[in-house]
Every structure is written in C-alpha cells, then in structure tokens.
C-alpha cells in the first residue's frame, strides 16, 4: 500500500493520474504533462512535494554534525534562512542523497531530503547525531510554486506573505508564522517552496489554485529539472557515484580544512568520468541507459527526455574524461546510432534556452 500525502484527496479531485513514486501515490500529471511544463516555464504551476522529508536538526552540536555529514560547507551559511545544496556521502565517497539544508541558528537547521532515501537518510543522520535531536516533520506539507509569475501569485493567494518574503533573495527562506517560505525549487524558474503545517495544506493549495496557479505533476517536474540541468537522485547519481563524476563538484568543498565523511576518497582524485549534456541532432528521444560513443570511449545517458521548451531531445550523460563541449558523439537508440552534440547544462533557465 503506497503512502499518501496530505494533499492526496485533492489530487484525486483534480483528476490527477496517480502513480507509485518511491512508495508514494503521486500525481504524474493532471491531463497533459507538456502543458503543465509550459505552464511553469511561462506563468506559474505548483507541485505537491510533500513526499520529500523535512528533518529538523536541533541542539548545540547541529553545526558540527552537518560539518561532518555533508560535502558542501555549512560555514557558508551565516544569514538566518540561507539555504545550501549539498550531497551527503558515504565513506567510499558515493552519494547517499542530495539535499537542501536551511540555516536558522548554529543549533537549528532544517534539511530536506528525497522521498526514496528518507528512511536510510534518517538512520544515517541519527547514527552520527550524538546529542543533536533529529526530528522528521511529517506534519508538514510542501508545495513548490514555480514559474515567472509564481511569487506574485503566491503573494496574492496568501495574505501577508508578501511582507514576509518580498525581500528574499534566491536560496533564502523566511518564516511566515509557522510556515516557511523558501525561494528555492527544482525547475530552473523563480518561485517558492512552501513548508506548511498539515491542517493548512489543502486551504493553501486551494488558495493558490484560485490565484491562477495550475497543478503540475511529477512528469513535468522531471522535464523541467532536466532542462534546468539538475540531477535526480537514483538516476543521475547514487551510492556508487562520486559527486565529482556526477557534475556536482561545485557542491563539494575540498578546500576548507574541515573533515567530512567521504572527503579522503575524493581529495586528490581526478574522476575518470564527467557529466555533461547532450542535444540529439537526429529525430528520436534520448533515454536513460542508452550508450554514448565518443572518440575517447563509451559513456552512458543517465537521464534523457524530450524537452518541451526546445522541442527536441536532451539528456544528461556520464562521459569519459576528455570529451568536451561541442564534440559530436553518437547515441545508440534501438538498432541505430544517432548524432548528438555535447553541451554544458543547464539547457533552459528562467524561460530561456541556453544551449
């Protein structure tokens, strides 16, 4: 029996096509995945992301715990509400999960982790937590409101929220009563992620609907994040993948003297693989696990799809070192080899095609 978010009945009422995702009954789309994609790129859409888990870390050791557990450096967080994207690594330098950590005080952080990894993340964090209280917040719903008009429509829907969040810069969050408004997301568009107490989840969703924010499902979420060049855990990286090979080197802080789990494996090692984007030059659709043939050797697509914004197929691929942006490669699709060009992700940000 799959788990249901606080907004499950709302998805059913709206005609969502529900599928199992990481053990949760989640809407894949509410009619057309492509229309929902365009709605987010051009106006404003919202996603129920309550399947992801908020974890509050509270106690004097919270800062030191995150110092040890994540590859990015929480010392970068000095302003309350500041957010940081990071991988959490195993001792072999593989990715246990990717997450966002919000800083409030050095004894209080909120971490948002993926649904499919939530149980193992919780166990791993607790194993290292010592006296730090690790509190799963299943009492919160999370709604991502995304798109060029997302903030304005959220302000219209939620009286008082504009005053609380008008000054927020990207990757910052602010309290709005007992809700948290974060200017973060997974689409490459502006917008908010709202963390709301359970009892107000449905009313908040309905107020956003009334303000013209249209519901969007996991299908559009996947095409949007892939256009934005953002990796998906379990597909683009996992416990066997180094964040350096997954294109996440920019999130790994090897410079600071602090030690963190996985650091000794990553330090001083040049990855044999790299992650870059592909644009399909022929007609067809790139998919995960298709083989890529480059002059330097073979690679593999980790995420591929049809890009609704670009009206052609795009992918993230793990390629041999030495393959460079602009190179021509071939991708094996069924019994054919099709031409593709190597590009630097992101493909699309803020409504604009970048490659």
């Amino acid at each position: 029996m799959a788990k249901q978010t606080l907004l499950y009945a709302t998805h059913v009422r709206l005609g969502g096509k529900l599928v199992d995702f990481a053990g949760w009954d989640m809407p894949l789309h509410y009619g057309s995945q492509v229309e929902e994609h365009h709605q987010v790129r051009r106006d404003a859409g919202m996603f129920d992301v309550s399947h992801m888990l908020c974890l509050d870390l509270e106690g004097a050791g919270a800062h030191d715990l995150l110092h040890k557990l994540i590859a990015n450096n929480v010392d970068k967080l000095t302003v309350p509400g500041r957010a940081l994207y990071s991988c959490m690594l195993n001792p072999q330098g593989g990715v246990i999960d990717d997450l966002i950590v919000y800083f409030f005080r050095t004894d209080f952080y909120r971490v948002v982790v993926n649904a499919g990894t939530a149980d193992k993340d919780l166990a791993w964090i607790r194993q290292h937590a010592g006296s730090v209280a690790v509190k799963p917040r299943r009492d919160l719903a999370m709604i991502a409101v995304q798109g060029p008009n997302a903030r304005a429509k959220a302000w219209a829907a939620l009286p008082g929220s504009e005053a609380a969040s008008a000054e927020l810069k990207p990757f910052h969050a602010a309290w709005f009563g007992d809700a948290l408004i974060a200017r973060t997301g997974y689409t490459g568009e502006d917008g908010f992620e709202l963390m709301i107490p359970a009892e107000r989840a449905e009313a908040t969703w309905n107020a956003l609907l009334d303000a013209g924010v249209k519901p969007a499902g996991l299908g559009a979420r996947d095409t949007l994040r892939l256009e934005a060049g953002m990796p998906l855990y379990g597909q683009d990286m996992d416990e066997q993948t180094s964040p350096l090979a997954a294109g996440l080197g920019w999130t790994v802080d090897l410079a600071a003297p602090r030690d963190f789990i996985g650091k000794s494996v990553l330090a001083g090692r040049r990855p044999e693989k790299q992650t870059l984007g592909l644009l399909l030059e022929d007609r067809g659709v790139l998919r995960a696990h298709q083989k890529v043939f480059a002059a330097q050797g073979e690679g593999e697509i980790t995420s591929g799809t049809f890009s609704p914004t670009m009206n052609r197929s795009i992918a993230l691929a793990r390629l041999p070192a030495g393959v460079a942006v602009g190179d021509a490669v071939e991708v094996e699709i069924r019994d054919k080899r099709l031409k593709a060009t190597v590009v630097k992700p992101p493909f699309v940000r803020n409504g604009k095609v970048l490659v």
């Binding site: 894949l28 789309h29 057309s32 995945q33 492509v34 299908g219 095409t223 007609r283 067809g284 659709v285 998919r287 799809t305 049809f306 609704p308 197929s313 069924r334």
Partner: protein, 127 residues
C-alpha cells in the same frame, strides 16, 4: 473509453481496419495514447518491409516512455503515415484518425483472429 465497434484490436493495443481495397490500416488505440501521455516521436516501418504477426515494426515515444508497436497480422508494409510522424501529437488528438501504417495482408482472414471491440474493452479495463 473510445473503442469503435467497426475495428479489430490486438491485446498489445493496436487497432486494425480492413478497407475495400484489401489493405489493412494500423494504429494505436485511444486507451494506448491515454496511457502513454504526450506523444512526441513516431518511428514507422519502411514501405516494402514484410512483417510477421506480432513482429515489432514501429515505435511510439511519449515524453515519458518508448512503446513498441507490433504488426497485428502478417503482411507487407505499403504505406507509412508521414503526416502523423511530422505531428506526433495528432495520435493523442485522435488515435483512430492518426493511423501509423498500412499492410497488404498475407491473408485478410487473419483479422478474424483479432479481438472485437467488446473483447478489447475487457483487456483495456483490466489494466
């Protein structure tokens, strides 16, 4: 669910229509297009190709997945619908108008072995 009574169906969600000229037109059902979601690419068989019943001979790709299309009966491909390939979304709009290819059947009586609308409705309902 839209399942026209005058067509024949395969369990793998193709429809087939025999015309007066003896040719059989093949497409995917409304149920199939609905399950696939937004269709963005069609790979159609080459004209002149001979196919066996149940042979993979086309691919329909939606944003979400690629789906193989099987020849419901044996025959020779005599036409492929380039207009549908140029506008794959037409299959979502009307799966019975946006046909994929036409076969000259080895034996038109093979169509009798396919499902009628009522039998296909049961297959689709069980998924």
């Amino acid at each position: 669910m839209n399942i026209p009574a005058d067509l024949k169906y395969a369990k793998s969600h193709e429809w087939a229509r025999l015309a007066d000229d003896g040719l059989v037109t093949i497409g995917i059902t409304d149920h199939a297009q609905e399950a696939l979601g937004d269709i963005v690419f069609l790979e159609l068989p080459a004209v002149g190709r001979k196919v066996k019943a149940g042979e993979e001979c086309a691919v329909v790709e939606s944003v979400k997945a690629a789906s193989d299309i099987y020849a419901p009966i044996a025959g020779e491909v005599v036409a492929a619908n380039q207009a549908a390939a140029d506008a794959p979304e037409s299959v979502n709009q009307d799966a019975y108008a946006a046909w994929l290819f036409k076969l000259k059947p080895d034996n038109a009586a093979d169509l009798d072995g396919l499902l009628d609308a009522a039998a296909y409705a049961k297959v689709a309902a069980e998924e």
